[in-house]
Every structure is written in structure tokens, then in C-alpha cells.
Symmetry: C2
Subunit: 229 residues, 2 copies
Amino acid sequence: MLQFSLKAANVRALPSQLLVEPAPTHHSPTVLRLSPRSTLFLEGYARAPQYRVVEGCVALSQSLSDGRRQIIDMIGPGRMVGIGVGERNRCSAETLSYVTLEAIDSVDHAELERGLEEMVLRAQAHATLLGRKTAPERVASAILDLADQFLRPSRGCKRNTICFNLHPTRGDLADWLGLTVETVSRCFTRIKKAGLIDFNHPEIVTLLQPATLAEIAAGSRAIDNTNQA
Amino acid sequence: MLQFSLKAANVRALPSQLLVEPAPTHHSPTVLRLSPRSTLFLEGYARAPQYRVVEGCVALSQSLSDGRRQIIDMIGPGRMVGIGVGERNRCSAETLSYVTLEAIDSVDHAELERGLEEMVLRAQAHATLLGRKTAPERVASAILDLADQFLRPSRGCKRNTICFNLHPTRGDLADWLGLTVETVSRCFTRIKKAGLIDFNHPEIVTLLQPATLAEIAAGSRAIDNTNQA
DNA sequence: CGCTCGGTTGATATCCCTCAATGAACGTGG
DNA sequence: CCACGTTCATTGAGGGATATCAACCGAGCG
């Protein structure tokens, strides 16, 4: 039947842990530290608590009954998790790296509205990506988005280059971009061969030509494959 | 290059009108009446005013530089337009039918937050549709969504059936669902031949088996085509 | 050391896009 | 009233981007 089978959804064994106790801190804000593949909350359950991400990467996802999974958003440092999720959560939230969270007890309206608006804008841009962009365009967009959110830690592997840790696996990226693992992997190699990015370990990516990458992401340029090494 | 060309984006001549003056009303809320294919606001321009839809259908859309278009949301009676659009609009808004709007001068926080949350939830569901559903599933989902939003006017063409006016054209639906006109049309005929819906004029649709349609929309059932007339 | 997991690559299949033609509905102008 | 153009919808034939299936490799780990 489908061109999307269970396989495409990268079904995982199960969350490695379901909750982690707060770590002690010296004053007010409660801080949580989670391992990769921890579940913050699950689709269909009671309303989620709200956090702010201090460090690391959290994925929001929805699943169809047959296991097809769609990652709705990748959330990095500074952003809120647990807002815009509906009364009974319409999303699950999973950590994709070691994550430090700060519990939010009360949000003021301005902050909540800013957070919600950011969710809306990102979701809209993502809809355009999912509905109208080609596979290479999606991957280029993803790389730039993640670079933007996760630049901080390991800046500048070399002089003048932007190098960062790509927290999601190829499978996570596939579920985010509406593709399969294989297609994501092939796009990475193509983009690498075109000289736009570089990586040895698949998680550590260096941007060599961010401007060109942005053009590809925007759909105004194709990948140049004449550049075979 | 792309499998999505300019054609796929259903590029239109241009908005038939750009603004329409308020119609006189007897008291406070300013009411606007717009014709089909009027533009409420355009992507990239100064922040949009805010309205509530009283009657009719408004489409929010984004476009790529080469003309590929993605409709982000279809907005029906009761919902707000012009929120969650960013400072410089990241969306255009176009009427798909005769539309009655009510200008909103001030929204209280609770209402704004409810509106924004609804935008987020719908955008998330739509991302799952765009990323992981097959063409027939998308069309089934769209029919149910529109039925839900636009049931009111022409209820019950016949006894016990749900009949409504499908405001968007096949082209609009294609841009909403990340498909092409032809694919949308083929899905409609398949769903009709399977006995799940009926229509003579392509805009007036009757739901014959909403429950089955919902199963298809959810991805838990395939279209039964043994049912050839 | 064997197992699993994540990533990559190749060969093949298929869903949906592209291109093309047709027909109905509608408005316009002669 | 009737040609004429335009828009929208439908249908068919063919092709292409991406999914599927399969094999292999390296790393981590009990």
C-alpha cells in the first residue's frame, strides 16, 4: 500500500527512561538533567509541564496509528517546551542529547505569547518545507536551522568555519523532514561532495559555504555536482 | 530539476482586489465583506490587522521564490486571521469565497493565547499530514477538516447526510496538501467511486461514510476500490 | 567476540508529478 | 444568439524523485 511503511517511521525500542529527578541547585529555578532518548511527555496523556531548554536538543513528535512518525519541531537552548501542545498532549517530547531543563512555574502573558508565536512561525515554515521542498532543499534547510540553534558550544573547529554538533540522528532528521534515513544520508553525501559542508563523524558538521546552502534551502539554486573530488 | 515546477504551485494572475472598504453596520464591530480571491494581506509586508471570520473561507499561504506555494491553513467561521503571522507577515491571506470579517481592535490575553494555540495545534497536525500521509489520506483529512469548519450553511442535502460547500478549488487543495491538482482530482474520484463521498458539482460534497473517511484520514485503513459501479 | 545500532551505498519499485488533451461552465463582445 | 477565451476539473500516458529492500561497515558494549 504505502510508500511509507513502519520502517520509514524509525520506530524505536522504547524511551530509555521516563523521568529523571531534579538535580540539586543553589537557588530558585528547578533544574533537570536528562540523558539522550528520555521522554519528557507522551502524546495523548495529561497536560505536559512546561520547561525552558538550557542546553541540548528536544524533539516534538506525533505518530500515526501504524507507527509513522513526524517530528514537528526541534527545540534548542532558550526555547520553551510544553507550550502549544493542547490539553491532552498532541505531541510527545523526547531528548535527542543530554539536556538541561529549567522548570517554568509561571509564564507571563507576553512571554507565553512570544513562545506560541515562535511555535506557529516555525510550524508554518516547516509546513512549506514538507509540502513543497525537494529532499536536498529540506536537508539544507535542516542543517542551517540546527546550525542556528546549536552553534554555541563548539564554535570554530577551524578559523572562519562554523562547526557544530548535529544532535538528531539521520533517522530523526528523516522523521523531521518527511523523508527516509537513506534519502537523508544520500543528501548529506551529495552536499558534502559539492563542498558545502564537511564531516568525518556524521554528528559533527562543518559549514563550508553557508550562503550557498541557504540558497539551496530557499529553493533558488540547485546542488552543483560537477565538483566531484 | 524539481518535481515541483511553477505549474505545481498554481500561480494565479493576481489578487482581484487588494482591499475593500468596510460596509456600514448598525453598531460597534466594524464588518468587512470581501469577494473571493481578495487579498487580506501579503507575505513580507507590515504587520497585518486582525480579524475574526464570520462567514466564508480564508487561506493562509507562503511562497518560495520560484512560485511554489504552500497553503498553511484554511480558516473558517469563528477563527481569527492575522495572529501568529510574525512582525513582517510570513504569510499571505486570501479569501477563497465571499467572506464576512469582523475587525478586532483589542484581544484579551486569554483569547489571543487560545487562538495561537489553535494555530499551533492545527499546524502540527498539518505537518504530520504533509510529512507522513499518502495522497488519499491527505485528501480524506482535508474533506473532514473542511466539513467540520464549513458544515453550517447547507446542512443535510438529504436526510442523514452531511453536505457542504467546499470553498477551495482543486488547485487550492493541492497547495494545501502538498500535492498537484491532478492528484487531488484523482483522489476525489477514487473516494467517490468507493462510495465514501458524492458530488456532481465539484464544490458541493456530500459525506456518505464519514467514519470510514476518518479511518482513511488517520491512516488506519486503505480505500476500498472493489466497489466499482 | 558477537551483538546491536547507526550510517552509507546500490538496485529496484512505486507513488505521484509532468505533460497533454478534453469537456463543462462562465463571461465577453460581436 | 453564438463564437471565443478563460478557468476549473477530469482523465490518460509516461517519467522521475524518492521509497523500499538489501548488503556492508564501523563503533560501542556486554
